[in-house]
């Protein structure tokens, strides 16, 4: 499979600079007394080509953080720098357009860039091939299983030809076996494309399986409490002892964080 993408020696990507950089970012939902401080002074960076996993309890502001980076919402305070990089995002749900075929959904990612129709179609077929859905281009999203839809969503994100891939618990709803396979696929794609990935999950093993770093977010307000480097050799296996050991340490830290709220 040859990559249908441009060469990654673009001038928009300066070497050494992080791909995504958050400086003292805060987000308050609502106003005044009723305002909810979802993120408090978060500073974080994702290096060029780095795979960063973000962990945190439910409601701690992980989705909020990704929305801010994707430009879906703007921070109340602080700065987010992406230096003009193209950003793709995958949601927890597949978020496919039900009125379009699978192939047309993937093509939507290339519409804005003004790629000609013929080329869009060939490229969409290639991206579907990458996620092993070559023969399904003419199906409708609802005809596919949950795991397949999520792969279409991944193909669509890849088709954006982005430099940064934001993923919000993308495999949360999948069964363990499909998830394991998709981890391997994602790792392969990340490597081949030199993507910078910010991957949100509440599954500690998944974070250790995938990440170069695992960032731990506290709850209410969301803050970065710890940043664990993971230096295990790749490919890793979710069920391996090494992964389990690091995951155990991180889970311990996560427990402390959660208990802080109980008292």
């Amino acid at each position: 499979m040859t990559a249908p993408l441009r060469e990654r020696t673009d001038s928009r990507i300066q070497g050494g600079e992080p791909a995504v950089r958050l400086d003292g970012v805060s987000k308050i939902y609502g106003q005044g007394k009723n305002g909810l401080l979802a993120l408090d002074n978060v500073s974080l960076s994702v290096g060029q080509g780095e795979f960063v996993c973000m962990l945190g309890a439910s409601g701690c502001g992980k989705s909020t953080l990704l929305s801010l980076v994707a430009g879906l919402d703007s921070p109340t305070a602080g700065r987010i720098g992406t230096e003009g990089r193209r950003i793709a995002m995958m949601f927890q749900e597949p978020a496919l357009f039900p009125w379009l075929t699978v192939s047309a959904n993937v093509e939507m990612a290339m519409r804005v860039q003004g790629v000609a129709k013929r080329e869009r179609q060939t490229r969409a077929a290639e991206f579907l091939e990458i996620v092993h859905l070559g023969g399904f281009g003419d199906k409708r999203p609802h005809e596919l299983s949950g795991g397949m839809r999520q792969r279409v969503s991944l193909a669509r994100a890849l088709a954006q030809d982005a430099d940064v891939l934001l993923m919000d618990e993308p495999f949360g709803a999948l069964d363990a076996m499909t998830r394991d396979l998709l981890h391997d696929e994602l790792e392969r794609i990340w490597r081949e494309r030199g993507l910078s990935v910010l991957f949100v999950t509440h599954n500690v093993r998944e974070a250790v399986r995938l990440g170069d770093r695992v960032v731990l977010l506290s709850s209410r307000p969301g803050r970065v409490v710890e940043d664990f480097p993971v230096t295990l050799d790749r490919p890793r296996h979710t069920d391996s002892a090494e992964v389990a050991k690091i995951a155990g340490a991180i889970t311990g830290r996560l427990r402390e964080e959660v208990m802080r709220h109980g008292s």
Binding site: A70, F97, P98, W99, L133, P141, H142, L144
Partner: protein, 291 residues
């Protein structure tokens, strides 16, 4: 190193296997059983209505010449449906219905698009459009006749006032209830403003718009019948006008025959909309579980 390390090829095969397992074979029944499944309840319903009708006639609340029974109406209906004159009347009515509805769709689309898009217009006209729907169309006729005289324009005017608000409302509702996740997906894919509207919001509104069209048709058809009863235009026979003269001449069987024709046309067009709606739901995977 782990021994069970998967090669890309075994990966692809495992994924394909899982996919095949998850994709149960969904099949639709054949055409004939599906049509039969639709038709027999209708036949049953018609049979029951005719039976009740006959029972009321036999009960003798009214004399025969005031309330005719099925046995008298069916031959009259047959007579009329074989006369060219009657078909001309049907033709006039249908022409008015189609043109009136077509203009309503146009007006509804433009109105709905503007109101759903522009905040000031929404504040100004949003509730007015809903209010217009509650206005009985017959109440517009005095004004329409003042403005246009006893002409077809008066009828068309009222048909549009009856149908366009529903159609506009259907579009506005669809725009308002576009799933936020699809808006976010569209935004992330780089669509903004008009492009987002065209590629995401409008298509997402289609089911609601279709429901608006269906309701708009019902209102258009009612307004048209009211109009044809009130605005009698010389030398232009129409279904409403036939109804009017049948009553004048106390031709009970003829009156009921024409009412049946009006009912059948209304139901027929409604079925067209339902078919369109069903096929859209099937393609989008929005079907309800049937019990």
């Amino acid at each position: 190193m782990a021994v069970d390390q998967a090669t890309p090829d075994t990966h692809a095969r495992q994924l394909a296997g899982l996919d095949a397992l998850e994709l149960g074979g969904g099949t639709r029944g054949g055409l004939a059983p599906r049509i039969w499944g639709r038709v027999w309840p209708m036949v049953l319903a018609v049979g029951m209505v005719v039976a009740i009708w006959q029972a009321v006639v036999w009960a003798g609340f009214w004399p025969d010449y005031v309330f005719a029974g099925p046995a008298e109406v069916v031959p009259v209906l047959g007579d009329r449906l074989t006369s060219g004159e009657y078909w001309e009347a049907i033709g006039v009515t249908m022409r008015r219905a189609v043109t009136g509805f077509a203009v309503s769709v146009l007006v509804g689309l433009v109105l709905g698009a503007l109101v759903s898009r522009i905040r000031v217009l929404r504040a100004a006209f949003g509730s007015l459009i809903t209010g217009l729907q509650t206005m009985p169309s017959i109440a517009w006729f005095p004004l329409a006749i003042l403005l246009f005289g006893l002409t077809e324009s008066a009828i068309t005017f009222v048909v549009i006032l009856g149908a366009a608000p529903s159609i506009a409302n259907g579009l506005i509702g669809g725009v308002d209830y576009t799933p936020p996740i699809l808006l976010r997906a569209g935004h992330v894919l780089g669509f903004r403003r008009l492009q987002l509207y065209r590629h995401v919001i409008l298509p997402a509104s289609l089911p609601s718009f279709l429901a608006g069209l269906k309701q708009g048709w019902a209102f258009a058809w009612r307004s048209l019948m009211a109009g044809e009863l009130v605005v009698i235009i010389a030398h232009q026979s129409s279904l409403g006008e036939r109804l009017y003269y049948d009553r004048e001449l106390a031709d009970s069987a003829g009156l009921l025959a024409t009412m049946i024709v009006i009912l059948i046309i209304g139901i027929g067009v409604d079925l067209l909309f339902e078919t369109a709606d069903n096929s859209l739901r099937r393609r989008w995977g929005l079907q309800q579980v049937r019990n």
